[in-house]
Assembly symmetry: C2
Homo-oligomer: 454 residues x 2
């Protein structure tokens, strides 16, 4: 029997949360805070595999590990769902800047998906703009043959950093094609980073096919400050060398899926997921190792507590969130082909930080039904259900099946300090924050499974 | 003219927050998030002075630095307020445990205020109890001549960690006298720590004068786990050596105070403070370097924005919070002697983490008046005004003058991972979280100053 979240929750919205609900929330929290396995799982993922870009041997190892770790949760059923992913390869790279008398090597990272210099050294003068408007004001003569430094700062005044990210990330994504349109030969950006440090941050960029594919590199904030000062004086030169390129053929990879079959409505599916791939730097600990181990923890905790959820719960470790979303597409395509009914899909891809809210992308009536239970979450620090946050991997199923979508909203202050950088390592994940996020996800999914399925 | 917070806020409680209030909150936040000096101040305090236990040369240097840094905020007036503080000196220490065939050195810390072994080595068998109840069940014969290992675990199931701390900290404070009453010769405790690591945590203990002053040392959680297993098997021995002792005479020290004179009610004082002393390990970065630099940031931001607060605002860097509260007492004594009127006192001593609330210790009517403005704080992540949290340093003035009291309530998940340990260093403070806490304090103080003083 397939039921609709909306109908189910609307029926239930008459009921206030009960003492029994509160007790179950406590049991779930205790199970995870005291006996949770997600932190140890994260240690293994980050320290034995490390970063794992789509298509790489590390990603293949992550799939193997994920399948094994998913089985260890006690899931009723575990399987791999195939998808073909792009494989962007970094290779060697270096950037030398002449900001005074001599060239000096600086720490830089090529942006993901970008085409490098083919291993040759590109030497060119550097000109600086602070934003696209300043760039627009330049003539093609001023730009031609130059490397353009887009010195746009992440807006530290925006408190919810994902909003600041949305504002700044267009420079990473669009700058090369914007610059190439006026004859630039390369782009340097100030990293999309809130960090008070010098880590460069990589991340996805994309070319507009109308223009030349010029290389793009990111600098950390401290080096960017130095380059900014040097550009104010003028005469800056750069030597950019990089081998990065997109591999010619896609690589077969997989989503890892674990399932608990619903006791009453096995054909009604709740999805909780994070993504298994990462960029090819650091350890992909917060992005999104945290989401991977939290998603598995939901399954483990439900099984450990002997809960029999009324509907089916699936944890999905999506492949290729970072540069293709092929895993999310494969999951949605399969759901369509198999005519599955998806009650709700939740993603955790905003870091394993202390949870503050759950984003809800659904009809107002559905939100209202969930909000009847909001007080249950308050003892766990969760008070904010106002954000329209889902997740990249669940967007395809949301688009194709109109599946209601949600996302864990953790505290956002630290995420963009380390996101996509060599600083995104296990040591920068706190065990209590990670577990608390997993507990809140499990509580939410239990709630929807029991209350939304009558 | 002296006015009362209660009266003032009661009058104002009729007014809802306005768009102008919201704009001022934004200005304050922007000033601190974009141009804040607290993070750089913390870097200097932690990296050029480091830890600074009361009475030590480092504490004296911290006072000098604090006076200079306070003047740099632009405060109208800066002064030192004398107080005489105890000086507990650690000296050399070591702990060897025989948990199998051989003695092995483990990482341990003597607890603050404790009396060591006078530099001699105390060798004794170790017996383990998990809590005071288990200890009660032991006979004096079983305890006599032994070192007692109090293996009480910080309750990780309690979400608000300050509550877990309150539960566990009695073992640190009371175990030596409890054990000495039955003839024990020493105490080892599992650190009062949520850490998933092996850092031992120090902190204040106190002797009951009826019993022998036996030494007390703390182990990190990993070594505690090992000792627990070894004690289950039996035959554990320890060699404890420590020089720690309380110095015979108090040392003259100071609170550092900076003030902005109120434009309308100069005799009505709002206090914001943190404590300048720390334990003698790590760098005292979260405890309470964060509170020190945030308190100064309040003054700096108000001056930088050209705000003329109606009442007087004082930032106080209290001395000796950790083991004597002599600074807090001196501040209260001075207020009484000078017949000062204190509108409210706020402390920030729960770490420079992302703010979640402001604790309020005052009459229900006063709280209700403040709660009229709660929505102003929501964009800054502050939603919880329910906790009865003030601060150790402001308790004396609260007790003596009935001054309403408040405390910043940041996210608590990480605080007891590093509190009082060598892991409490600058690198474990996030610049955005620290600044956001300072912004919220400044917003709150501005609000009380303007709205509460009509």
């Amino acid at each position: 029997m397939k039921i609709r979240l909306f109908t189910a929750l609307a029926i239930l919205s008459a009921f206030a949360s009960s003492a029994q609900d509160s007790l179950m929330f406590r049991k779930i929290s205790d199970e995870i805070m005291l006996r949770g396995k997600c932190y140890e799982n994260l240690r293994v993922l980050t320290k034995t595999i490390g970063h794992r870009i789509s298509g790489s041997p590390e990603a293949a190892r992550a799939v193997e590990w994920g399948e094994k770790a998913m089985k260890a949760t006690g899931a009723d059923k575990v399987w791999l769902q195939p998808c073909d992913v792009p494989y962007w390869y970094r290779g060697k790279e270096s950037l030398l800047l002449k900001m005074g008398n001599d060239y000096k090597k600086v720490t830089a990272l090529s942006l993901g998906n970008s085409q490098g210099t083919g291993g040759k050294t590109l030497t060119a003068p550097v000109i600086m703009v602070h934003n696209f408007d300043e760039f627009k004001a330049l003539s093609a003569d001023q730009v031609k043959g130059k490397i353009v430094f887009f010195d746009y700062r992440f807006r530290q005044d925006i408190i919810f950093t994902f909003q600041g990210y949305g504002d700044a990330v267009r420079y990473r994504g669009q700058a090369p094609s914007v610059a190439a349109a006026k004859g630039a030969v390369g782009v340097i950006i100030r990293s999309i980073s809130t960090g008070a440090d010098d880590f460069p941050h990589t991340g996805g960029m994309h070319y507009n096919d109308s223009f030349a594919r010029i290389p793009e590199m990111a600098l950390g904030n401290i080096t960017s400050d130095q380059l900014e000062k040097a550009c104010d004086k003028g005469g800056v030169m750069a030597k950019m060398t990089s081998e990065c390129h997109m591999m010619p053929k896609p690589v077969r990879s997989y989503n890892v899926i674990g399932e608990i079959e619903g006791s009453e409505y096995p054909d009604s599916i709740i999805t909780i997921g994070g993504h298994l791939d990462s960029w090819d730097v650091g350890e992909g600990a917060q992005d999104d190792g945290a989401g991977v181990v939290q998603s598995m923890e939901v399954i483990r905790a439900i099984k450990a507590l002997g809960i029999k959820p009324k509907c089916t719960i699936r944890a999905v470790l999506f492949m290729n969130e970072e540069n293709g979303q092929k895993g999310g597409q494969a999951y949605a395509d399969s759901a369509v082909a198999r005519k599955e009914h998806h009650v709700i899909a939740i993603e955790t891809d905003a870091g394993g930080y202390s949870p503050r809210g759950i984003g809800l992308v659904m009809a107002p009536e559905q939100k209202a039904a969930i909000l009847n239970y909001r007080n249950l979450f308050l003892p766990y620090g969760v008070y904010d259900f106002s954000r329209e946050e889902g997740g990249t991997d669940i967007e395809p199923i949301h688009d194709k099946l109109k599946t209601p979508m949600g996302g864990l909203v953790p505290d956002s202050q630290r995420y963009f300090d380390l996101h996509h950088s060599n600083n995104d390592v296990f040591e920068n994940v706190d065990h209590r924050e990670l577990k608390l996020g997993a507990a809140v996800l499990t509580q939410f999914i239990w709630l929807v499974s029991q209350k939304g399925i009558i």
